[in-house]
Amino acid sequence: MDPVLLPRLSAVQAAEQAPVVGCVESPGAHCGLFEAALTGPLFADACTLLIGAPACLYHARMTLLPRTLGPAGLKDNLLLVPMDQADTVFGVEDRLVEAVLEADRRFRPRMLFLVGTCIPEMVGADLEAVVHMAQAQVQARLLPVRTDGFSGKHQLLGHRRLLAALARAMEPRPVRPRSVNILGLRGNAGVESELVRLLRRWGAEVLCVVPAETAFAQVQQAPAAALNLLAGEMGLDLAQEMERRFGTPYLHVGQPLHPEQVAQTYAAVAAALGLAPGAELEALAAEAGEAMQAARRAAEGLRCAVGTFMGGALGAARFLVDLGLEPAIIFLNRLTLQDRTAREALLARGIDPLVAQSRSSLDTAAVLAALRPQVYAGHGDPSAMARLGIAHIHPDPARALWGFEATRWAAAMVEHAACQPPLARKGARAWP
């Protein structure tokens, strides 16, 4: 698609209004299985039973296994029930009951996610019936999760449904004052995040961080929280279900990057819990400010493109604008809760970049080649960016960060990107 045909942000209210770059998807959005298979291992005493076509299970396990290596590797807790043609005709429920019993006997998990995929959905496999038949015979709490790819693409449904399933492992508890759960902070490092450390220092009790090495006992304690902090939208369904069943209110805190937003969000959390923030906030804000200044010195004037990022693409664009970068285009496949306020803030400052939805990495690369940004922040194919000579800031390493630590990380990444010698920079020229 010729970039000249793309609209600007001011003309787009919702992601669906952004034109799609590329008619044929390539390689396409990831599915709920991809999300669930990488989230299940973040539960300390759980196993995740994947049910589906051999190709799906091969890919799911193959994607996890390299991530289990090394000193900080994920737990390898995937169990597989590959379906064959006979299963699609005669049903798979009996095999699943048998598999549940075997998983319980061999691995003794406290929670067992039963993750269904496209093929069991298409043949009408009844995971609820499996739970009904097997639950009384096993120690593990059985948690069915639907992750079919034909309804879940690009909408975090794999994450959301897996986390929402946790509500089935919860019972009502007396509420403890000044206690919180943090939902949607993904990664084992989430339990050591700045948010958790500060809340504890200020006297709050952090009961459960999900999904971050979360144990069954913590999940069971979660309904005792006075407040759920919704850091990532993957926790939204769980937050709403806990509000419905246990009356636990939730506060959407998102994953802000700009120091001012971080400070405001800390203030809002403290107010909601009746906490008195300590003086360390000022020091942390000052450190983050210094990191921002260093990044600005290095990156001011560079053009950037922004895709899916922690907290949302528009929030990331706003952060980059604060560092002096000029967003040439924003790939807006989803509009997060945070993005709505970020959009207004960008437009109020006269920042009105091109917007598009990205469906094809090939066509996205063509648009980027035409616009020639020097920096790309967001999910995307690192090798494609390398070929284009664009410095790539991938958000994944920071998904368990929250607070000024996230600001410092993002600023450092921008500074680092600006110091790389990307090929695009050599012939960089503004467009249009």
Binding site: G28, A29, Y58
Partner: protein, 421 residues
């Protein structure tokens, strides 16, 4: 057991994709949900992070398509890819989802062919019909049948061959095919096409080769097609070890009417000849070193021959994770010196076999190593190999240099195991 903790063997659908990924210029449209193709794309990178396979497109089926059928999406995608990318060949590949809806890409390809510039090839397997070897064999045969041009006079000059069988995911293919090319060059033979790394133009002219060398069983149907269509004879087998490589080169030379040996070949064999006993750090208590080999057939057979015939080591167990397409595999492995042979064993049987054989060294995949934690020495010779990169082209297990590299790999792994103890 009702469940498995091991990777399932990749299904036919993935074999098809991996075979097509070795041919630059092919555009693949996967008919299914977008998540299938995203995973395929990530999988390409897992196999070899240094290569750039062609783009893979998806029809991105949604819930309504599952009910009403998604053929319209496939037709749109074909027209769009043909119009915008102008490829020579477009492959329409069913995923499991599309196959279960009864999608028929063959019929659609026939219907659309007159309307597009690209040649259309359809693969309806879908991934619940067989294993990846079947998909790879079918895809290579389809390329040989539908894309390779008909009979042509072999060009004058140096004899030429094609290397048939390696595909995108074949373990260590970069190194092994480089070594095979080097060996053939010693005979004055030039390689035209390697199926794991070629382009449409070269593949189209593959019928002009004097001989097809099938290095892996999945290449046999394609070689048979080329023999019928182009009259090109083929030779099946891969060069492993000193004796095996000498024999292989002799057979190649005989088929091409060349001298089987030459001063260069002899010098090369002497240069890389390695007696394991002279470099081995094994100082057992009088008991022999026991080895298990677990790899696809051609590799398992070749390695067993090196270990048992060249080095007189005890191969206590040979495991084929997938049944070979060529007949007589078990007899061949036993003949090469394997004391016990298992073909497609279930997880529990394989774990028990490893325990029973109690090898000191396991040459196998990362999943084999997980099943045999008590084995002190592990060498990666098969996929999945997520704990071991194998993209460099200078570490062959085939050929003269492969003999030496295998010896060095064994020695180093044995030293490392000793330090761990």
């Amino acid at each position: 057991m009702a469940l498995t903790t091991l990777l399932p063997q990749p299904p036919d659908y993935l074999g098809t994709l991996w075979a097509l990924a070795g041919v630059r210029g092919v555009r693949v449209i996967c008919h299914g949900t977008s998540g299938c193709t995203f995973y395929d794309f990530v999988g390409f990178r897992d196999v070899d992070p240094t290569r750039w396979p062609g783009p893979v497109f998806t029809t991105g089926l949604d819930e309504s398509d599952i009910v009403t059928g998604g053929d319209a999406h496939l037709a749109e995608a074909v027209m769009e890819v043909d119009r915008r990318h102008r490829p020579g060949l477009i492959a329409l590949v069913n995923t499991s989802v599309a196959a279960l809806t009864g999608a028929d890409p063959h019929a659609l390809a026939r219907q659309l062919q007159p309307q597009v510039r690209a040649r259309l090839l359809a693969f309806s397997g879908g991934g619940m019909r067989g294993l990846y070897t079947q998909g790879a064999a079918e895809a290579l045969a389809a390329l040989a049948r539908e894309w390779v041009e008909g009979p042509s006079d072999a060009p004058a000059g140096a004899p030429t061959v094609n290397l048939i069988g390696p595909t995108y995911e074949t373990f260590n293919a970069a190194s092994d095919t480089a070594e095979v090319q080097r060996l053939l060059a010693l005979l004055g033979v030039r390689v035209r096409v390697i199926t794991s790394d070629t382009d449409l133009e070269s593949l189209g002219a593959a019928g002009a080769a004097h001989l097809n060398l099938v290095l892996r069983d999945v290449g046999l149907p394609a070689a048979q097609v080329l023999e019928q269509r182009c009259g090109t004879p083929y030779l099946y087998g891969a060069p492993f070890g000193a004796e095996g490589t000498r024999e292989w080169l002799s057979r190649v030379a005989e088929r091409l009417g060349l001298e089987g040996s030459s001063p260069q070949v002899e010098a090369d064999a002497r240069r890389y000849h390695t007696r394991f006993a002279t470099v081995s750090p094994w100082h057992g208590d009088g008991r022999p070193l026991r080895i298990a080999v677990a790899a696809p057939y051609d590799y398992a057979l070749g390695l067993t021959r090196v270990l048992a015939e060249d080095w007189h080591l005890h191969v206590a167990l040979a495991v084929l994770p997938v049944a070979p397409l060529a007949p007589g595999a078990e007899a061949a492995l036993r003949g090469a010196g394997a004391a016990q042979v298992l073909i497609e064993p279930p997880e529990a049987e394989l774990a028990a076999a490893f325990q029973g054989a109690a090898p000191h060294i396991l040459l196998g995949s990362a999943e084999d190593s997980r099943l045999a934690p008590g084995v002190p020495v592990h060498i990666r010779v098969a996929r999945p190999s997520f704990d071991c990169a194998a993209f460099h082209d200078g570490t062959p297990f085939m050929g003269h240099r492969g003999l030496r590299w295998l010896a060095q790999s064994l020695v180093n792994a044995m030293y490392a195991a000793r330090f761990r103890l």
